[in-house]
């Protein structure tokens, strides 16, 4: 099937709205197309689906077993609810847990005002944390890794979304990042846990910094509130690859200017 040919559609109800979904698209892609807002954190268009943050849980056909909007394809006559009381409660609690896990002090963060975790808290009305932090919030849990000449890693602000891991492996092809250890001890490491500046596989492309939803990865030299990420760049790159935008069509195929990704 050529990409121009329209794909078959199926009827789906989402929050009471009857819409036509494209077969095989995910609930999340449908929701975004028809203007239904489902919060996400680890999901990023252009990267593989991870399913770690669990914020995009939705109810399907009233089933108690929740589905992930980012990973569940639509089917005909599916009835999706994205905004029940239970779902809102679950999301709020997960956001609280993320805040309670690290040292997320917006007032001292480079990403203040441009942070997806902060946005999630604001849009989901999380203004208190009901959980014991278990640590002193104003003191660093782990030293900042500023060994890279251009970028900084502050693990205290990391939410383990693995966007950086995936963008580095899947788009840049360098696979510098991995999450090491497990459970509450899991932490982002460069290569075999070396200081970032010593990671010889790092191409310093900065994609990891651009996709980071919080202030965990930032440009060196950013002051409080100065850091601006650009996660959409990945969707742009993925689409450009898919549509072979870098192919110089005028030169004909096989010419030296053809760049395939």
């Amino acid at each position: 099937m050529s990409p121009r040919e329209p794909r078959p559609t199926v009827p789906v109800t989402i929050d009471g709205q009857e819409v036509m979904a494209v077969e095989d698209e995910t609930i999340l892609s449908l929701a975004r197309r028809v203007g239904v807002d489902i919060p996400t954190l680890c999901y990023l268009e252009g990267l593989s689906v991870y399913g770690g943050c669990r914020l995009c849980v939705v109810e399907v056909n009233g089933d108690a077993r929740l589905k992930l909007a980012c990973a569940t394809p639509v089917w005909a006559d599916m009835e999706v609810r994205t905004d029940t009381w239970d779902l809102r409660e679950h999301r709020r609690r997960i956001i609280e847990l993320l805040f309670a896990e690290g040292s997320h002090i917006c007032a001292t963060c480079v990403s203040n005002g441009a942070c997806e975790l902060q946005d999630l808290a604001a849009t989901n009305r999380v203004d208190h944390i009901h959980y014991d932090l278990g640590f002193a919030p104003n003191l660093p849990l782990e030293p900042v890794d500023a060994s890279h000449p251009r970028y900084v890693l502050d693990r205290d602000r990391c939410v383990r979304c693995s966007r950086c891991v995936r963008v580095c492996a899947e788009v840049e092809g360098a696979a510098v990042w991995e999450i090491a250890e497990r459970g509450g001890n899991s932490r982002l490491v460069a290569e075999m846990d070396v200081p970032w500046g010593e990671a010889s596989s790092c191409t310093s492309c900065g994609k990891c910094v651009l996709v980071c939803p919080t202030g965990a990865l930032s440009f060196k030299g950013s002051a409080i509130g100065e850091m601006r990420h650009d996660p959409e760049v990945v969707a742009f790159l993925a689409r450009a690859r898919e549509e072979e935008e870098w192919l110089d069509r005028s030169a004909g195929s096989g010419s030296a200017s053809e760049v395939r990704s």
């Binding site: 770690g52 669990r54 239970d86 409660e89 993320l98 309670a100 896990e101 959980y131 001890n185």
Partner: protein, 550 residues
């Protein structure tokens, strides 16, 4: 290529050799008895007897009564078997000299009657030959009818007929969830791929559970036979036995059994000259509980980090290296040879209406006798606890039994007469689980029990998804406060709401079921939680504020 084993011939020779013995001592050399000193006992017996034509000393797998090990069973022609318990070096000398030497029972060594309810109330299918044969000898297993089911399947049944037999038997997964095995076999049989895989999950990790360990170290060939039949039925050509590294004896015996089976052409190229090939190897886990979850297990086999992934796709569609894969718990597979040998109708006749067959339970906790039992599904908890395991020690009272490990729940005394099967346990807010059964007496605090299991899940969380990674940590913090007597009513309320979120939103079974011990202890023993709460707000004293001088 060496010719395939002649099963009848080997069985006949082996049985003849056995018949020459007037007396045989079966020495348990399973993990628990070895830990209690069985190696010395065996050495001693061998030294006393020396080379003897009429007396045999057989190292065996586990007969079950682990709390009274090391065990030595003496069988003499024309005599009821004697079960010696707590045998030490002196005991072994006495047994060797008296009972094996001249046939008079050793008077100074403790015994239990061979018809002790612990033994006589059992119905052994999976453990039929465990504790009866030398796990390191293929011939021993063959003499008991081993590999006959495989031969039957290969020579008289089509793969579809084997799948059908498993379906009709009603066998359900013994790893916990109870998924119908026949359905899984059918899905793999229908799946297409370059290579299909079958995997035995021996990553048993629930606290207090040792069913699979015992099956593997006591009767490794039974697992191999079950897996090979599964491979034939589904068209799989490659298999893995995934065993946790903490089971070195099981690993050693499985590897030895695989080598023996390969030499006998019961594995490898053209199994028993059937033209069907099946290759099998052991993969050793690296110490993560979550690798018992099937998607994490597959990642581990592939050499990746043991993290669960999203399902669908299910392993039977896309599993190991993207190929169709079927994963079964060790005990499930160990049921297969008997189902083929004795017929699905026989198996379906065991147990209850919806839960067919037997279940192996690992008894632990406050019981007079602990160890491994295999009982028909539907037996009551009371029969297990009081009739078979001899009740609670030191006159204390039965309080609750935890089934299903950290994913399960507790069953209080008033449900002692509930039949133990998949449905009834689920109705009680617990689950069958893999078969760990931990009994608690009236000295045990149930919030403490919940705290213990939640700590286990927190430590074993892989960290991939937020609700489990952080949620179990915070659940534990609330339970800490409650158990330490500084919890307030709102702590309990937050704990409960957090548990609901962790259950509803976690990625894999580990996180989804981590709140179960909290829910079930709250359901049956809420008063104990309430008694621990303090009504007023307890402010930290000056000394407790971190970083500030008192």
């Amino acid at each position: 290529m060496a010719s395939a084993i002649d099963l009848d011939d080997v069985a006949h020779t082996e049985r003849e050799a056995r018949a020459r013995y007037v007396r045989r001592a079966l020495v348990c050399t399973s993990t628990a008895c070895l830990a209690a000193g069985a190696a010395v006992v065996r050495e001693r017996l061998t030294a006393v007897i020396g080379e003897h034509d009429e007396v045999g000393i057989v190292p065996t797998g586990c007969p079950g009564l682990c709390s009274r090990g090391p065990l030595v069973q003496v069988e003499a022609r024309g005599e009821e078997p004697t079960v010696y318990t707590h045998v030490d070096e002196a005991g072994a000398t006495a047994i060797g000299r008296d009972h094996l030497g001249d046939g008079t029972p050793a008077s100074d060594v403790a015994t239990v009657p061979a018809d002790l309810p612990f033994f006589s109330r059992q119905q052994r299918v999976v453990l039929a030959t465990a504790g009866r044969i030398d796990p390191d000898r293929l011939e021993d297993y063959v003499a008991e009818g081993g590999y006959a089911a495989l031969a039957t399947a290969l020579t008289t049944m089509t793969p579809a007929e084997v799948v059908d037999a498993i379906t009709r038997s009603g066998l359900r997964g013994r790893g916990g969830a109870g998924y119908p095995a026949g359905r899984k076999w059918g899905m793999l049989a229908e799946a297409t791929g370059d290579t299909k895989y079958v995997v035995a999950n021996g990553d048993e990790g629930d606290p207090g559970a040792y069913m699979d360990r015992t099956i593997m170290d006591s009767d490794p060939h039974r697992v191999i036979e079950g897996l090979t039949i599964a491979a034939y039925a589904t068209g799989a050509t490659k298999g893995y036995l995934y065993v946790r590294a903490e089971y070195p004896l099981a690993i050693e015996r499985l590897e030895r059994a695989i080598r023996a089976a390969k030499r006998a052409r019961l594995l490898g190229r053209s199994v028993l000259d059937s033209g069907v090939s099946f290759d099998l190897e052991v993969r050793v886990g690296a110490g993560a509980f979550v690798c018992g979850e099937e998607t994490a297990l597959m990642a581990s086999i592939e050499g990746r980090r043991g993290l669960p992934t999203l399902r669908p796709p299910y392993p039977t569609e896309r599993g190991l290296w993207g190929q169709p894969t079927m994963i079964h718990n060790v005990e499930t597979l160990a049921n297969v040879p008997a189902i083929i040998a004795r017929g699905p109708e026989w198996f379906a006749g065991l147990g209850t209406e919806t839960s067919h067959g037997t279940k192996v339970f690992a008894l632990a906790g406050s019981l007079n006798d602990t160890g491994l039992i295999e009982v028909p599904m539907g037996i009551t908890l009371r029969e297990i606890v009081f009739d078979m395991a001899g009740g609670i020690p030191e006159g204390r009272r039965f309080k609750a039994a935890q089934t299903g490990g950290p994913s399960g729940g507790c069953i209080p005394a008033r449900f002692l007469d509930t039949p133990v099967d998949y449905e009834h346990l689920q109705d009680l807010g617990s689950m069958m689980g893999s078969g760990g059964l931990v009994v608690m007496d009236d000295t045990v605090s149930m919030p403490e029990v919940a705290r213990f299991y939640v700590a286990f899940c927190r430590d074993e969380s892989c960290g991939k998804c937020a609700p489990c990674r952080v949620g179990t940590e915070k659940m534990h913090a609330f339970l800490d406060r409650i158990c330490e007597g500084v919890g307030r009513p709102r702590d309990l309320a937050h704990l409960e709401s957090l548990c609901r979120t962790v259950r509803a939103t976690s990625l894999c079974g580990l996180g989804q079921s981590a709140p179960n011990p909290v829910f079930s202890t709250l359901e049956h023993f809420r008063d104990e939680y309430l008694d621990l709460l303090v009504e007023e707000d307890v402010e930290p004293t000056r000394e407790e504020v971190p970083g500030e001088p008192a």
